[in-house]
Symmetry: C2
Subunit: 225 residues, 2 copies
Amino acid sequence: MSEQKPVIAIIGGTGALGTGLARRWLQAGYKVIIGSRTAEKAATAVDDLRDILQQRGVSSPSVEAMDNSEAASKGEVVVLTVPFSHHSSTLEPLKHSLQGKILVDVTVPLVPPKVARVQLPEQGSAGQIAQTLLGDEVHVVSAFQNVPAIHLQEGDDLDCDALVCGNSKEARAKVIELANAVGMRGLHAGPINNAAAVEAMTSVLIFINKQYKSHAGVRVTGVEA
Amino acid sequence: MSEQKPVIAIIGGTGALGTGLARRWLQAGYKVIIGSRTAEKAATAVDDLRDILQQRGVSSPSVEAMDNSEAASKGEVVVLTVPFSHHSSTLEPLKHSLQGKILVDVTVPLVPPKVARVQLPEQGSAGQIAQTLLGDEVHVVSAFQNVPAIHLQEGDDLDCDALVCGNSKEARAKVIELANAVGMRGLHAGPINNAAAVEAMTSVLIFINKQYKSHAGVRVTGVEA
């Protein structure tokens, strides 16, 4: 993977987080597919991305629009950025396309309206739900749940880490590479069970953002990665 | 509380975390009671504390040894630092003494031997278990689960934040003052439900410490508190 950059498909990739990640991966020279429920919706997001990247001097980014199903099939690494309420229903029909691949799950199990309150699912975390649903031949890796989307959209350096959880160390290492490409330090943070900590932290950050009028992120201190 | 420092009782206060916190509060001029299952065991820890503090130029620290029951009764703010396996059994007999007080719960629900794996209790978190067990007249505030004890024992500045969770904002504010006295930045991190995020993060930090040979802590970035 160091030698050749994988094609990244972002399922539900038209939102602030999905397009923020896409922008950074495109700037780093990755090929990106934006997936959405319809290819038309994805195409609008891709047009916007092209405009923004051109302003930043990236004149011919390698970005395509597809529906989620085609995106999951064509992507070599697949990233999921959908609301928790659509998490399982989005993954279920993609199960076949994802076999043997890495699924980067960015989902946070927020339960509106109390999104600043930790309310983890019975199964532990969205990451664990995905791993159970997809089976062991899909390497589910959770990451990027704590990065403020606004920071992905702007600026260069991100003052926050990506805590990368998943049962395969090799798959985690590949996602750490993707985190570095985004401008974050990626850290091995343990098995997929540990996604619970990172997903729950998002509600803490939402609370902090309300309390302190901030766009908070998380750094692990005392570590040289 | 800004005017007058409360007497702090540390239940199960003879371990690395309890004595580390005690040392820092004593250095900051607080009165501290070290509680243990027997007053004799607490007395040994207090002798050690006096020696260490004398070496640091604190010649007559206000520190006393008591059994847990007396400590909980005499303390104005009560801090709990026991293993999760003793959490409920330690709290149950102290319920009466704690009414109307702040209980600072430092407990992390680790499940040996897999302490680097998040395994939250059914009830959500140790903090929620304590709040339910003690009732609404006790202000349970969770904090200090992520600070490496070794850093409390050494040095001055701690490069980590205290994420302070509890249902009473006023009680949280008092614990934030105690965090500041320890040399940490304390942040309002939400209701007691949010303790789940902070407790779970401890397992992530244990994993990171194994992986990177570190003594990791957590900082929230992008916030001016």
